[in-house]
Symmetry: C2
Subunit: 524 residues, 2 copies
């Protein structure tokens, strides 16, 4: 392992994060029209505390980045596969730590300790790391209960919180490839970073793909922000919700999430952009080039849309029968929003789906493991893996009675070449299963029943859903981590576990798992 090279790369990551923090500074000023329509005391005061914290954090990023780059000076600069994997894993760890600084320095509060709203609870160091990781991993799980009170959460911090979504979605390492352009190493990085099993790129050169990916992503963020702004949101809210949507993150600036706006129009726009965010960016590029046939012909996208449509219909029908919705229009608006939000792993809420039928809750739980398309900002296990998983199992059952006939794996009419793909898909499912099971046992063993108060009978389900919601980068789950609640009341050890689960999910397991393998650090 070439530690000098590692150091240099990590230093650059630290400097980039420091640079990004600058964008959080302007929101301390009321001149930018921060959520004027929210009526609270001091809404239009200049937030000194909110400004100092990012400034201190920027200084810290500069210091850390400078030291790392200094230590790594004169490194040969040739990035091998192993170093590339290490850079990916470690830069996410570093980003989490640095991204947690603004929360910590500002003394941001989780909410009130008592019902009288007199005593506030400051964020614990693990809370800060959790919130930071939740942002970068585009999960959207939060420990903040009172988002609307700038005394508790300054605007600069709230903006930085949504910015981590933007940065996470873009992929710190995609930025790397675009800005630094490291040839074959960049390719290795890209492979580690790009979600989903490798698909053919839309352009032969990896760097161009990364640039294309970045431009499409930024463009869609901008487009959504402008649309939301025109629809009446303040610039601040428009940007934050655009970041949360396009990164399939889910951090909102209101306690009631997107449900705060209570607008069918805004819901529809966000549904559309969530669907886009969960689509392979190569397909979005075809869409921009006005070649919709390429999009509709894509087998993964067809399944992705079919699942959304099918589950939405099922949820609406069952919900109407059970009386969860008042009428068809409400059912369509709330049911579809929630299905798309969970499926794309965004995690925005317009309805307390925890009050839905057991069928609805169970289906949403299953949907968490599906996720978006490969090559999108969506989390989860990705639609393509599920398609291949189903095909592989079918072939294996056939092979049980025809052992001599080995039929190739076919996708969209074409045989898939990669002989390792079958095993890799199965290994991925196996790892998710193993991680899920061990994490679930950890939470039910070590998280005290008191976390659930007088609802501890829901412990088994809620624990499973909290693990699923963090591992698949969704955010809200069922019960005590449901749409109207959050992760604040969990113990620090469970939060630490969730923090790693979010990272594992975002980097598709291997880049993080290898960090824990002693053999990885030993030889080259």
């Amino acid at each position: 392992m070439d530690f000098r090279l590692l150091s240099k790369q990590l230093g650059i990551v630290a400097l980039l994060i420091g640079g990004a923090m600058v964008l959080a500074l302007p929101w301390a000023s009321p001149a930018l029209g921060i959520r004027k329509h929210l009526a609270y005391e001091g809404a239009l005061a200049f937030e000194t505390g909110g400004l100092v914290a990012p400034l201190l954090s920027i200084a810290a990023c500069g210091l850390v980045g400078g030291l790392l780059v200094y230590f790594g000076r004169g490194s040969p600069g040739k990035l091998f596969r192993k170093e590339a994997v290490a850079v990916v894993g470690l830069s996410w760890v570093l980003a989490t730590v640095l991204g947690a600084l603004p929360y910590y320095f500002s003394g941001t509060c989780r909410g009130y300790m008592d019902e009288d709203e007199t005593k506030t609870v400051r964020m614990h160091i693990v809370d800060c790391l959790f919130e930071s990781q939740s942002g970068f991993s585009t999960t959207g799980a939060t420990v903040l209960t009172q988002l609307e009170d700038p005394e508790l959460v300054p605007h600069c911090i709230l903006f930085w919180r949504s910015m981590t979504h933007f940065l996470g979605g873009l992929g710190i390492i995609v930025l790397f490839v675009v800005i630094l352009g490291q040839g074959s190493a960049g390719k290795a990085l890209m492979r580690a970073e790009m979600p989903g099993p490798t698909k053919e790129g839309s352009t032969p050169r990896m760097q161009d793909t990364a640039l294309l990916f970045a431009f499409t992503y930024c463009g869609l963020n901008l487009a959504l922000a402008i649309i939301l702004w025109v629809m009446g949101l303040s610039l601040f809210d428009a940007l934050c919700h655009a970041f949360g949507t396009m990164a399939t993150g889910g951090f909102s600036t209101y306690n009631a999430s997107v449900g705060h706006f209570d607008s069918a129009a805004i819901d529809s726009v966000i549904i559309l952009f969530m669907i886009l965010a969960g689509t392979n960016f190569t397909l979005l590029f075809y869409l921009i080039c006005l070649r919709p046939k390429k999009v509709v012909g894509d087998i993964e996208w067809r399944v992705y849309m079919s699942v959304i449509a099918g589950i939405t219909v099922a949820v609406i029908v069952v919900g109407l029968m059970d009386g969860d919705f008042t009428g068809l229009s409400e059912a369509l608006q709330k049911g579809m929003f929630q299905v798309v939000s969970i499926m794309t792993t965004t995690g925005y809420c317009t309805d307390d789906f925890d009050g839905w039928s057991h069928f609805g809750r169970g289906v949403l739980f299953m949907l968490m493991f599906v996720g978006g398309c490969a090559g999108s900002t969506g989390g989860g296990m990705k639609v393509i893996r599920h398609i291949l998983f189903g095909k592989i199992l079918r072939l294996e059952v056939e092979q049980a009675y025809h052992p001599s006939v080995v039929r190739p794996l076919r996708l969209g009419g074409k045989a898939v070449e990669d002989p390792e793909l079958r095993k890799n898909i199965l290994v991925y499912f196996a790892l998710v299963l193993a991680i899920f099971m061990f994490s679930w046992i950890f939470v039910i063993t070590f998280e005290p029943d008191a976390t659930w108060g007088d609802e501890s009978q829901h412990k088994l389900v809620d624990s499973a859903s909290s693990v699923a919601a963090t591992l698949n980068n969704i955010g809200p789950g069922l019960g005590t981590v449901g749409a109207t609640r959050n992760y604040a009341h969990f113990s620090w050890w469970s939060k630490s576990l969730f923090l790693w689960l979010m990272m594992l999910g975002r980097l598709e397991l291997f880049s993080i798992l290898v960090l824990f393998a002693p053999g990885f650090w030993r030889s080259r």
Copy 2:
């Protein structure tokens, strides 16, 4: 597919089942001292109804068997792999149907419909099939609520119910190999029937192995029955509980299961024999040959015993802290019994583990998927598969950063040769996962909330545990299918699903899955 051959083989199965039913006849007579100590009306009357039903069933078996053998006369008799697989799958289906006849003909009742105990509920045809399959698959899930009233469940029927465990454990097809000895075909059958991934046999010839297996099994059944008889149980109870234990079944003759006896001595004896029943029969043979080193040196057996010991200690410690047990001796007795019972997939109960802590319930749920050792009568996924699963995942993570180095899979110091084994283990886990998930969704979608009465908030967990308990051949699960309850109140469509799950679990998936593949029936 050679249907004549198939017909002949299935005909023999039907005749054998009819023959076995003869053993249920004597228990209609009170002369055999049927549970004298139970004080109920008519305990010593001759049960005419209980006698007629098996007689009719024997006639039906004879008729079906005779017709099938007649249709299959003059078949070449050479059994290829595909026919062997078909015989295994179909003979279980046939056994289920024929084994259900005594319940149906006798008009056995599930229990009382009302609290006044005036109106009884006869077994539905699906109930009969469920109970029959539960017996043959050694699951022990029941729909009978009142076992102790011979007006509702005659003794002949109760004995037949436990006999299906004995037959299931022995494996109808092992009987086949022993009695008919079909050379290479027997080997193919054996491979399909013997639980667990293939291990080296203790004798070179398959037929000898089968005989050995059968003798050991019958010997242990007899030994346990004698011990229980000496300990004060009636001959009837001793035989039934021996069958339930050695087959890792779990059908009892009392509503409170083994807890009825409330005896530490009986519990200990049954714990010991459950552990033996979950042990690879090859190792039991070594034990009989007084070569204990071979047993202790077996990696699977060591892990099997370690898991039992570890989980027992954890359950006892947490149970004592939570006050689930009154003292250490009760904790040891009840905790260990329940852990062994679930782990070996027996399903006997001495305590209502549904009242245990959430940790205890969660751990028992996980244990359901572990199961016994390969080559035992235990169900579940088998310990060896979990060992290999863990090793494979570790190797795969290593391979992520050392792609060029392919390390062999090692077990007990020796490299495992089979190149297909890695994939097969992963496929097995994947199939169990897929079947579990789809079945869970089926139950929460189609089973009405009313099944849970006013406890429908437990639907998600209870449904998952009912699927796990049937797929892994345990029997009791959590909540509404818990230790003190049963499957009677489920709808017939859920019971039909469970019926197939039990069969899938018992035959380790493939022999049943291929029956649903159209291609399987087409060519040879």
